[in-house]
């Protein structure tokens, strides 16, 4: 158990450093770390439904966008403070997941992936259409507010929360049941596991984080438009982060988010044109060379628990 205590101590140290970070960091440093937190939320949430449960979602940014619009509308039109608006963004995303979960989770494999892709496009079209509420294609501006540091903490707490929830799920029988859906859904049902209900729970859980992150991001940036909160590229990025780090593990999505975000920032600032090329190369390399991701390979080779 000393290893466990060492890991906990290291974790506590990281949390303490991150909590103290805004006191001495540059504006850029805080903003970049805030983005890392956001990617951790997105990647870990995607991991719940797609890495753990095996339902690969190609439209997960839909929940981010739904949360962003719900939060932004509440702030801009109803004058809500940003924190309750962020929670409302999470609730909106979960409600959306509830409505579309029933029909979409009946679909398996590529059909589910395509349905989720379609959902995202439909939402983007809808927010463009309802101009009165959303500002349509012109976007929606929020009142100016400098809250980057409190939002840094809120996003950091969200990232910690999603990671904790993932840990709790992966070490529970509920988590094992989700994995049986990924492994063999027919066998899971024949063994008395109510796969429909379990899939739905995983789906709802996977929508909450992106909804909150979307609302926080909208507040922080002060302006949103359909193409900025529903981009397919965001879904792709979260998928790549999870695949790189190791799907179905606790820390894989976190590792993927940190490494790929840093790589992206470094490359982005130096060679703007190489960036998409490099990202594409990483996708190909991960899929071909290590489909289980970094932690997935270590987990298999050294027989580590999924809690890595």
């Amino acid at each position: 158990m000393t290893r466990r205590r060492a890991a906990l101590a290291a974790l506590a140290a990281v949390v303490a450093v991150l909590a103290a970070y805004p006191a001495f960091a540059s504006g850029y440093g805080v903003r970049a770390t805030l983005q890392v937190f956001m990617w951790i939320v997105l990647a870990s949430s995607w991991n719940l439904i797609s890495g753990l449960t095996g339902y690969v979602s190609f439209g997960h940014v839909a929940f981010f966008g739904a949360g962003a619009y719900a939060g932004a509308i509440l702030v801009a039109k109803a004058g809500w403070p940003w924190l309750p608006a962020a929670l409302a963004g999470g609730v909106a995303a979960v409600l959306l997941a509830l409505v579309i979960g029933y029909p979409c989770l009946r679909l398996r494999g590529p059909y589910f992936a395509i349905a989720m892709l379609g959902l995202n496009e439909v939402l983007r079209a809808l927010v463009s259409y309802f101009e009165g509420l959303t500002g349509g294609g012109n976007g929606l501006s929020l009142p100016t507010l400098d809250a980057t540091i409190p939002i840094y903490y809120a996003m950091g707490a969200s990232a910690a929360m999603v990671t904790l929830v993932t840990h709790a799920i992966i070490t529970s029988r509920f988590g094992l049941r989700l994995m049986t859906i990924r492994e063999d859904e027919v066998a899971a049902e024949a063994m008395g596991i109510d796969t429909g209900r379990h899939k739905l729970y995983a789906f709802l859980l996977s929508a909450a984080g992106p909804g909150i992150a979307g609302a926080l991001t909208a507040r922080d940036q002060g302006y949103i438009e359909p193409i900025s909160v529903f981009p397919l590229a965001t879904t792709i990025t979260m998928i790549v982060m999870v695949l790189f780090g190791g799907k179905g593990t606790v820390w894989g999505p976190v590792l993927g988010a940190v490494v790929l975000f840093v790589a992206q920032e470094v490359v982005w600032t130096r060679y703007p044109y190489v960036h998409p090329l490099l990202f594409g190369a990483i996708i190909v390399a991960v899929v071909l060379l290590m489909p289980r991701g970094v932690l997935g390979i270590l987990q298999i080779r050294y027989r580590l628990p999924r809690t890595i």
């Binding site: 492994e183 049902e189 024949a190 063994m191 109510d194 027989r303």
Partner: protein, 235 residues
């Protein structure tokens, strides 16, 4: 007359123009071992799938301990006390052997763990309890699938070719286990191609051919039935 554990009335299933199960009726009493035999494609596995809800039936009724189960979802039927294994092994490959057993349980986890370890010991897999099920040998996976069914303590157990690919020593243990289950009041229906197994184990045998039940009776009588011989060897 006691309520049968499984009662099938005029069950029908068709795939396009092929009638896979044609008006089959069966009655299984508690505490007995039944065999289901027939040439390839005679509808044995389809019948299993219709009983367990994996396939939707096109007609007929299925009752488990007197309760209608046709039309229910597979997991609901499983929760009514029906357990099954598959012809093609369906363990959860990226769960450990122990997790494969724990995951199908409900209620107190500690009790489930004790029982799971007992069952792993019973099939001599206790040393491999933390190994991924996908890394076990074919025979070991087969045994794991068998004890996974027992974890839920079902009243009716459907075994789809339990003997296929299992070596003699293991097979004898497995058959002993099936007899013990019967002695504890469980009802077993097994599909099997190994006639020695069927004749040595089953008290009643049903024979399917082209989706129809063509014979039913004690193994000795079935062996001499003309329609059965014809179904297997041709006229």
């Amino acid at each position: 007359m006691t309520t049968p554990v499984l009662e099938i009335e005029r069950l029908r299933k068709r795939f396009g123009g092929v009638i896979a199960v044609d008006d089959v009726s069966l009655r299984l009493e508690a505490g007995r071992i039944y065999g289901l035999i027939g040439p390839n494609g005679s509808g044995k596995t389809t019948l299993f799938n219709c009983i367990t809800g994996v396939e939707r039936r096109d007609g007929g009724r299925v009752r488990v301990s007197g309760e209608r189960v046709d039309g229910l979802r597979p997991w609901e039927i499983a929760q009514k006390g029906v357990g099954r294994t598959f012809q093609v092994i369906r363990v959860f490959p990226e769960l450990s052997a122990l997790e494969n057993l724990l995951v199908v349980t409900r209620g107190h986890l500690g009790g489930a763990r004790t029982r799971a370890l007992e069952l792993l010991r019973f099939v001599k897999l206790e040393g491999l309890r933390d190994e991924y099920a996908g890394n076990l040998s074919y025979g070991q996976q087969k045994l794991l699938e068998f004890v996974r069914v027992l974890m839920r303590d079902p009243t009716l157990i459907l075994l789809d070719e339990p003997a296929a690919g299992v070596n003699r020593t293991l097979l004898n243990d497995l058959l002993d286990a099936v007899r013990q289950l019967r002695d504890r009041g469980k009802t077993i229906l097994l599909v099997e191609h190994d006639m020695k197994v069927v004749m040595g184990l089953c008290e009643t045998v049903f024979v399917l051919d082209h989706g129809e039940k063509i014979a039913e009776g004690a193994p000795g009588i079935i062996q001499t039935d003309e329609r059965v011989i014809e179904a297997y060897f041709g006229r």
